[in-house]
């Protein structure tokens, strides 16, 4: 026990003395939350819109006023002649042009077929499709109003967005950032700190000492476990206070699942360190090999359901994708233990497999 303590103390000293790294480790989650929360938003805002209708068209003007009232759209230009529309996209940096057919109001009053054309700059396809659906929704709600009771058949679609009524991006990326930061710190830092001992030759020194290999590993893990916990709490606090992220489920359950994921990631780090011989390789494998799958295949940026089958299968082997799902269920949907048993079981299986694999690897190296 005294052995272990003096060794943990050494690991803590290594980390504290390396001021730059510790600073990065503690600030990284804050920066990521800020970046994803305020700068890199997938929500559509401040769309520059131009409208075109025949001068004096009453209903077209009303619809335009509604669109303009929405926080998503700025009407920057009104034109009365739909010629040379493409030039507006180039000259005026317009994102969307809405063209009402000539005699739009008249057509409606006499029960004809009025037409509205929405022309989008689709060089950003996500934005274009979101804009289209927003504008369509505004127009159709207007249509329902003016049709009133006179209309023979009226189907009113009412939208209700469960769990995330405001469609906030933060609901998706906060769990993503949690998975990302924990993976980076646990897998990358642990593997680097073990491999550094190999590279400098101090690992030999430890192996000829009576220090048990298990103690060496445990003392490597303890400091990063503490740092991960601090980061976890920082992320949750920032998300709740700055981004109005809810924690609807049990906080204890959230921490429990997070600790499980931290252990999985730490074991990944240990496993990586048994595969490589120098710090650069450890960084590459842990950095690229872990970070990219977490960002691309956890569901943080792109929904897994719409991916090709083989990518979904690969994603099943990424621990972060299970953690991500579990965190979303707890924080956003407020689900309890019973509904995340699948994720917990799978993470436990992954942990067991990794622990066995690492022990095997370690033994082989000693023989």
């Amino acid at each position: 026990m005294k052995q272990l303590l003096s060794f943990i103390k050494k690991e803590v000293l290594h980390i504290i003395r390396d001021k730059r790294t510790i600073l990065i480790l503690l600030i990284m989650p804050v920066v990521q939350i800020m970046l994803f929360g305020f700068a890199m938003t997938l929500e559509v805002k401040n769309i520059r819109v131009a409208v075109s209708y025949q001068y004096g068209d009453e209903l077209a003007e009303k619809i335009t006023a509604r669109i303009s009232a929405s926080e998503y759209f700025d009407i920057v230009k009104t034109i009365n002649n739909p010629i040379n529309i493409s030039s507006y996209f180039i000259k005026e940096k317009i994102d969307t042009v809405i063209v009402f057919s000539d005699g739009f109001s008249n057509e409606i009053y006499k029960g004809g077929t009025p037409a509205v054309q929405i022309i989008n700059d689709a060089s950003d396809p996500n934005q274009a499709s979101t804009v289209t659906s927003y504008i369509s929704a505004i127009i159709s709600s207007f249509q329902n109003e003016i049709a009133g009771a006179a209309s023979p058949v009226r189907i009113n679609t009412e939208l209700k967005m469960l769990y995330n009524p405001e469609l906030k991006g933060s609901y998706n990326f906060v769990p993503g950032v949690m998975a990302l930061v924990l993976t980076l710190i646990c897998a990358m830092m642990t593997s680097i700190s073990i491999v550094r001992e190999k590279e400098f030759g101090t690992m030999e020194l430890l192996l000829v000492s009576p220090m048990k290999p298990a103690y060496i590993i445990i003392s490597k893990i303890v400091p990063y476990f503490i740092i991960s916990t601090i980061n976890l709490l920082t992320i949750i606090a920032l998300a709740v206070m700055l981004l109005d992220m809810p924690v609807r489920g049990s906080f204890t359950l959230l921490m429990g699942v997070s600790f499980l994921f931290i252990f999985v990631s730490l074991t990944v780090g240990i496993f990586i360190s048994s595969l490589v011989a120098n710090q650069a390789a450890a960084m590459l494998i842990a950095g690229m090999g872990m970070m990219l799958p977490v960002m691309l295949l956890s569901g943080m940026l792109f929904p897994l359901d719409s991916m090709p089958k083989f990518l979904q299968v690969i994603a099943d082997f990424v621990p972060a994708s299970w953690y991500f799902t579990a965190v979303k269920k707890i924080m956003i949907e407020g689900q309890g233990f019973m509904n995340i048993t699948k994720e917990i079981i799978i993470l436990n299986i992954m942990l067991a497999v990794l622990v066995i694999a690492s022990i095997k690897k370690f033994k082989v190296r000693l023989g």
Partner: protein
């Protein structure tokens, strides 16, 4: 005299390559035993087997009375080790390094305190005990590393090319420390490729291609090969082995 290291036909193979080929020798208590050979001759592999880091493919051996293939955990408690790469932590201070290794060997706190004060005094490092090791000159680091390796009073200390990159004056001081340790009954097992250092040893063995090509006291070896220096002995031995092939 008590024999603290004994090997019988010790062999280590990596696949079809035989790194250590049937070596048998012994080392007596308090002896300074030089283990010489060119790079790749099998020195490090042999030493790793003696320290319990690597299992022999065939043959047997004992260190401090314990079997190297079975009781390596016990061996580890009785040996000290200093490797050719610098074997202290650069980002820890002088006294943190001493405390760390003493702690790993499970020494009682009171004894650690007493003894580290003594050693700092002896190395003239008392006023620099809170300096990070990376700011200490290389020669000093090497002496400190040796002091740390014998801090827990092991029966045997293994030194793997301990004086690499150190100036002659520091090397001389380093050897003074080795003699002092040997006088206190610690057996020294040292590998080196400085042939002049070989002359400081009580007995030396020279490994060529995994085998022990010669084993004797330096002066007897020079007589046998009719050479003025150990360097000449070494060149004759290596040339001889190649001629036989």
């Amino acid at each position: 005299m008590e024999q603290v290291i004994v090997t019988n036909n010790l062999t280590k193979k990596f696949g079809s390559f035989t790194a250590v080929d049937n070596i048998s020798f012994y080392v007596e208590k308090g002896e300074i035993f030089g283990f010489l050979g060119a790079n790749g001759a099998g020195k490090t592999t042999a030493m790793r087997m003696l320290c319990g880091l690597s299992k022999p493919t065939a043959g047997s051996g004992s260190v401090a009375g314990y079997d190297i293939s079975k009781e390596y955990e016990k061996i580890k408690k009785n040996i000290g080790y200093m490797s050719q790469k610098f074997s202290l932590y650069e980002d820890l201070t002088v006294s943190e390094n001493i405390k760390l290794f003493a702690g790993i060997y499970g020494m009682p706190l009171k004894k650690i305190k007493e003894k580290s004060a003594q050693i700092l005094e002896r190395l003239e490092l008392t006023d620099r005990k809170d300096t990070l090791v990376k700011y200490i000159p290389t020669g000093w680091k090497q002496k400190l590393a040796f002091s740390v390796a014998v801090f827990h009073e092991p029966k045997i200390v293994f030194l793997d090319e301990p004086t690499g990159g150190v100036d002659p004056e520091a090397r001389r001081q380093f050897w003074e420390m080795i003699y002092e340790a040997a006088d206190n009954g610690i057996t020294i097992f040292v590998t080196t490729h400085y042939m002049d250092e070989a002359e400081y040893c009580d007995r030396i063995s020279i490994m060529v291609q995994g085998k022990i090509a010669a084993l004797a006291a330096p002066k007897d070896m020079k007589k046998e090969y009719n050479a003025a220096t150990m360097d000449e002995v070494f060149r004759k031995l290596v040339a001889g082995t190649f001629n036989q092939e």
